[in-house]
Symmetry: C2
Subunit: 192 residues, 2 copies
């Protein structure tokens, strides 16, 4: 019987979470996002809608919105992207956006000047409570994880996030996925 | 006295090496590149000249040429870049370009259709022979290297390249640098 702790990898391309107030400004009052594809985390989906993200040095025309609406808007981009748009986004856990820079969003019905919320998402693993208990892993524990892809590497600072609302999945961004030469669905191994 | 094997990191942005024949086609017969900045490896320089690189899905307007001219042209891009231009470049050691895809280059005096030479450079460390002897490292040895940056990680497949023409330097691409949260000049540690 194997005892390795294998976790599927999900590579997050740049994406946007929006508050309902910002959805209203960008798409029109009371607008509802249209789910296009379910994500690995229960209840989360990629929406059909995209918006333009416009920074001081460059822009991305079509950034995917993930639903449902959240309490606060948050743009998650790779560090490579931060250089293109010219915004010095810090590495943060999702939701921890105090003191982060903002950026301009342009939708079909209007524009939003986010005053904060641009982050490079800190790599993390979502554990369902049952997975975490089985492996003796606690919420917020820092894990060491090997990605044995085309370009093997070990991430030493992976944050465990445990909830009975989560499904087992390791989230990294496109820079990290490309540095490892892995694709969504490849397996990572927790080694410490 | 510390015995750690510390190596400075150099992050390579996308760049181009050109044969003299291709320099002639792009800039005019007998054209000589203009050195702008010395690189860490002796005799190598960033040229003032840039060209456009045009792939089936996208392009980069100004890709820096590194001199001097080489026997064969070679475009080194990050994996993130391969997706933008739409070329499936493999991870290769510099100079090992058999069977790799080509791409179109556009210069002020003409165009070149490279028939091969687009690669994602395999991460590697240049050692002067004296560094390698001191640390007991052999040419082509595979090393494990920790980058203790903003986002610590361990590269497990770093190729040693040893020559009395080399200066000590670890070369990684922008995806790898961004995944680690390091900048050129930061130090890496060989740990195995």
């Amino acid at each position: 019987m194997t005892t390795t702790k294998q976790v599927p990898v999900g590579i997050s391309a740049r994406h946007l979470h929006l508050s309902q107030a910002h959805i209203d400004q960008l798409f029109g009052q009371g607008y509802q996002l249209t789910p296009m594809k379910d994500l690995s985390q229960p209840g989360q989906y990629a929406a059909q809608e995209t918006v333009a993200v416009v920074g001081p040095k460059g822009s991305f025309d079509k950034v995917r919105i993930l639903g449902p609406a959240r309490k606060e808007s948050q743009l998650e981009i790779a560090m490579t992207d931060t250089m293109k748009v010219g915004v010095q986004a810090p590495v943060r856990e999702s939701g921890k956006i105090e003191g982060t820079p903002g950026i301009k969003l342009v939708g079909p019905a209007g524009e939003v000047e986010m005053d904060k919320g641009v982050i490079v998402a800190a790599r993390h693993i979502h554990f369902h409570t049952s997975d975490a208990e089985k492996w003796g892993i606690k919420d917020q524990q820092i894990l060491k994880v090997r990605l044995n892809g085309l370009r093997p590497l070990v991430f030493e600072d992976v944050i465990a996030r445990v909830s009975d609302q989560f499904a087992l999945d390791m989230h990294i961004d496109t820079d990290e996925g490309n540095a490892a030469g892995v694709r969504t669905g490849d397996m990572a191994e927790i080694i410490g």
